[in-house]
């Protein structure tokens, strides 16, 4: 049943306020339990043996010496994980990524795992496992991997999306194309054309909490898994499938999560921990080291993008064409598609084409990273548009306003937009005090726009009214940054009760129906929808109970401000009944009072942002510092504005790190050279200024309160905003991210000579 969305634009009593988060005290006292904070009685400690080679055939694995070591309770290799995936390529890749089968495909690929009585013993056991490798040629660069001379990583990958189907395997698993109109005609109409190839390096989500889990599988086929994840239901389903367990027999409890940003949407070591536990018949704890997180979890793609945009002298963009090459790591993926779909989404274009080329390289399997694939595409598009503005002699904001998408625009990826916020964020940027502030020596200002789809997905929610009239809300989406507070606000708003009278918990997988991950900025949107619907169902029950208490027809009762009230001509004249009074009487009126809802949350509202960045560049060293930063983004409706601001600020900070410093550095040997926070440097407190935010609220018509997702869009504009600021500060246009000091210095020196 579609949810009545008429509530949009009504006055809210609680939504939009800033109450304290319910998990706050636990998190400031050290009491909150994260992945590695849980221990099971009698648990073993597991460690994973990983490949030192980027690409090699596994000739033999000899575990016999390790098995004889006192204290070793189980050792597994791929032989202990039979392929049960029945032709499902995605699942097979997942299995193979968790544990290498015939070949290792990247530096850090798991080849065996050990469970022992303690870490010291497990570490000794790893050293006793002998693996004979036949080293194969490797390729780690996204462009190199497409060359005919490149080693082919999978001999059963034939490019999808080209006709006729290739007869030779390659490292290009798929091609696709999005857009409309006639780009050749569009470029003929252009007075000015900008054309460049842009490159971005691979970055990691950089969550501070390494992956950790405790698995406990018994010989009767039942199992439990405690794990830090963005989606415990999805982990359950995937682990059960790979291990041949019934889904219902595996109960997964999500720990508090110490950051994910997309990186905890994929299973990595969890099937290994479960398999070890099953083999040893003991609980097994498996925690990744930081080095393992960098080497063997899922960073984002590095990319290479050809971008061509043409415009008339009046600033009208006549055509835009991008060819986007993204790698998915060592397995087939579709990240370039997301890049091609999002690249031009901010603009109303007559002729537009985004072509995606998916590439396989000898690097870890790429995972989602906050608005996955969009930041790199936006870097190319927004850099080119800035250059176009300069060539035309038009203000960069004005040129974007002139071409901005609006309600009714056919997006470059297909759908026609409803009410959207790109124009409003641009107007707000144009009028923002930041735009008018003076700049100092070696300083420059840049701006850029960004888009993200936002997702909905499968969701369900249970609301239980307890005997004292306070309420528990059980949800199935992980709280990655304050969503318990926003869900609590929405439940309180609907029920007309105080926020303090609502407790929101994340249910385990045996206590609630399947929920998709907390990804795609869906947590507050989709679980919010389910919560609102469940609250409305609970209200129906509450009204029915009041009717019973008054002995009047159910439809003669209305719910207002947390009270049942008689309404209508035959209702009679009763004083309102509070939720507490109805709850107290529940035992005599039909039993416990609850509301449930399950839905596929369609109608996620697309999201747009405009960022403004001031940068100062030291021409002697090439080091650059962000001096001022402003994020303007459409939230639809900010349920808890503090956590919306937090999402804006956090995304901007990650984007700034990506723009200026962060990159995976692989040696010629195909090994990752900077697998640690010392050499993979994310922004620290002294690197950043305060990040100003402006929340715009253009309601999403598909949500009763107008909510759009807010978590991801904020990482889309920074790469380009910083690059445009750099260009304005020192007159150099860098087309390779990150703009680290050596690259900047090189560009400054090249200009001097």
């Amino acid at each position: 049943m579609p949810l009545d969305t008429n509530f949009t634009n009504q006055k809210f009593k609680q939504v939009g306020t800033r109450p304290l988060r319910p998990d706050g005290v636990d998190k400031v006292t050290g009491r909150a339990k994260y992945g590695a904070d849980y221990n099971a009685p009698g648990q073993l400690i597991a460690l994973v043996l990983r490949s030192p080679h980027a690409h090699a055939r596994i000739k033999k694995i000899d575990t016999s010496k390790a098995e004889k070591l006192a204290g070793v309770k189980a050792i597994i290799t791929s032989a202990d994980l039979p392929d049960l995936t029945a032709g499902d390529r995605g699942m097979r890749d997942m299995l193979e990524n968790c544990m290498a089968r015939k070949k290792v495909l990247y530096d850090g690929h798991a080849v065996a795992a050990v469970a022992a009585i303690d870490q010291t013993t497990a570490r000794k056991a790893l050293k006793l496992i002998q693996v004979d490798y036949e080293i194969l040629p490797h390729v780690t660069d996204v462009d190199e991997a497409l060359k005919p001379s490149a080693p082919v990583i999978h001999n059963d990958i034939f490019t999808e999306g080209v006709e006729p189907k290739p007869t030779k395997p390659s490292n290009n698993n798929k091609r696709a194309s999005f857009g409309h109109g006639d780009i050749e005609q569009g470029f003929r109409e252009a007075d000015i054309i900008v054309e460049h190839t842009y490159k971005t390096e691979q970055t990691h989500q950089g969550y501070i909490e390494p992956h950790a889990c405790v698995a406990n599988v018994s010989p009767d086929g039942q199992g439990e898994l405690w794990v830090c994840t963005q989606g415990h239901f999805v982990y359950r389903n995937q682990c059960a499938a790979l291990l041949g367990m019934d889904i219902s027999k595996l109960r997964v409890t999500a720990s508090e999560i110490g950051g994910g940003f997309g990186g905890k949407t994929h299973i990595w070591t969890e099937p290994l921990a479960l398999a070890l536990s099953r083999k040893a018949n003991r609980p097994v704890k498996l925690t990744m080291s930081r080095e393992e997180v960098f080497r063997c979890s899922g960073p984002t793609s590095s990319t290479s993008i050809d971008m061509k945009i043409g415009a008339k002298r009046d600033g009208t963009i006549t055509a835009a064409h991008g060819v986007l090459r993204y790698h998915g790591g060592a397995f087939p993926a579709t990240w370039a598609e997301f890049g091609a779909m999002t690249a031009f989404a901010c603009y109303d274009l007559k002729n537009v084409k985004g072509e995606s080329i998916e590439v396989i390289v000898n690097r870890p399997k790429t995972a989602a990273y906050r608005a996955p694939s969009a930041p790199m595409a936006a870097f190319a598009v927004e850099s080119a548009i800035d250059e176009l503005a300069k060539k035309i002699g038009m203000d960069a904001v004005e040129l974007r306003i002139k071409n901005a998408a609006k309600q009714g625009t056919q997006s470059s990826y297909g759908p026609v937009y409803g009410p959207i916020g790109i124009g409003a964020t641009l107007e707000a940027a144009k009028n923002h005090a930041h735009m008018k502030a003076p700049l100092g020596k070696n300083q420059g200002r840049g701006m850029a726009c960004g888009f993200w789809f936002n997702f909905g997905g499968q969701t369900c929610c249970d609301i239980n009214v307890t005997p004292d009239g306070t309420v528990t809300v059980a949800v199935g989406t992980i709280d990655v940054g304050g969503s318990r507070a926003s869900i609590g606000l929405m439940a309180a708003e609907e029920l007309g009760i105080s926020y303090e009278d609502v407790r929101v918990v994340i249910a385990d997988t045996s206590s609630l129906g399947h929920n998709d991950m907390t990804d795609g900025s869906r947590g507050t949107f989709s679980t919010g929808l389910a919560t609102i619907a469940a609250a409305r169902n609970a209200i129906k029950v509450l009204c029915a109970r009041a009717a019973k208490m008054w002995d009047i027809p159910e439809d003669a009762v209305v719910w207002e401000d947390g009270h049942a009230k008689p309404a209508g001509t035959n209702a009679g004249n009763f004083p309102p009944l509070s939720i507490k009074e109805i709850a107290a009487a529940a035992g005599n009126t039909g039993g416990p009072i609850a509301g449930h809802n399950e839905l596929v949350a369609d109608g996620a509202g697309v999201s747009f942002a405009t960022h403004i960045c001031d940068i100062e560049v030291d021409p002697e060293t090439g080091r650059s510092t962000v001096k001022r930063y402003t994020v303007i983004q459409d939230a639809g409706k900010a349920i808890h504005p503090s956590y919306v601001e937090g999402q804006y600020q956090g995304g901007a900070a990650q984007g700034i790190g990506w723009a200026l410093n962060e990159e995976y550095i692989y040696g010629k040997d195909g090994r990752l050279q900077n697998a640690g926070f010392l050499d993979y440097r994310i922004p620290v407190c002294s690197d950043l200024p305060f990040i100003d935010t402006m929340i715009l609220e253009i309601p999403n018509p598909n949500h009763p309160y107008g909510v759009r997702g807010v978590g991801e869009t904020s990482i889309v504009p920074p790469l380009a905003a910083v690059a445009n600021a750099m260009s304005n500060a020192v007159g150099i246009r860098l087309t390779h991210i990150p703009m680290s000091p050596p690259r900047v210095l090189k560009a400054i020196s090249a200009r001097k000579h």
Partner: protein, 158 residues
């Protein structure tokens, strides 16, 4: 396996434990003493999530051996609140929404307290450099710095 016997004081309480000679204090706290408030983000002293104080000095507990704290006074996040009274930093971190996922929060609180103990009136720059040894990936540090500023002001006024 021969262990090292250590007598020490943690959050004002006398504590004794036996650990391996090469065992980091962080592992002792988490695995032997059940104090999981200090987190391991890296194990190499780069992230500050395991911050504690030893005799008032801020350290990464992953870089200190358990055997080294014989006779010392150790302060961890578990000892920051006094009974049911949260420290002003803890209150302000919640009220300023200075945490999202919260994994770095114990380390930030310990580091911020160490900073304010030494410098009750820090400038924004002093706060930013004082907390530069602690990584946060969620917040962009904005609300963390504001929470520390608000606390410094409040504690000076008190």
């Amino acid at each position: 396996m021969s262990g090292v016997h250590v007598s020490t004081t943690i959050n004002g309480d006398a504590v004794e434990f036996v650990c391996n000679a090469d065992e980091p204090l962080l592992d002792v706290l988490r695995n032997r003493l059940g104090m999981t408030g200090a987190k391991e983000g890296c194990g190499t002293g780069d992230c500050g999530a395991c911050s504690v104080t030893i005799n008032g000095r801020l350290v990464c507990s992953c870089l200190v051996l358990g055997a080294e704290i014989q006779g010392a006074k150790v302060g961890t996040i578990e000892g920051m609140a006094k009974g049911d009274q949260l420290h002003p930093l803890q209150k302000n971190f919640i009220s300023h929404a200075a945490l999202q996922c919260g994994i770095c929060t114990p380390g930030f609180l310990i580091a911020a307290k160490a900073l304010l103990d030494k410098n009750p009136d820090p400038s924004e720059e002093e706060i930013r450099f004082g907390l530069a040894g602690n990584l946060c990936r969620c917040t962009g540090y904005d609300k963390i710095v504001r929470a520390v500023q608000a606390t410094a002001k409040e504690m000076r006024g008190a």
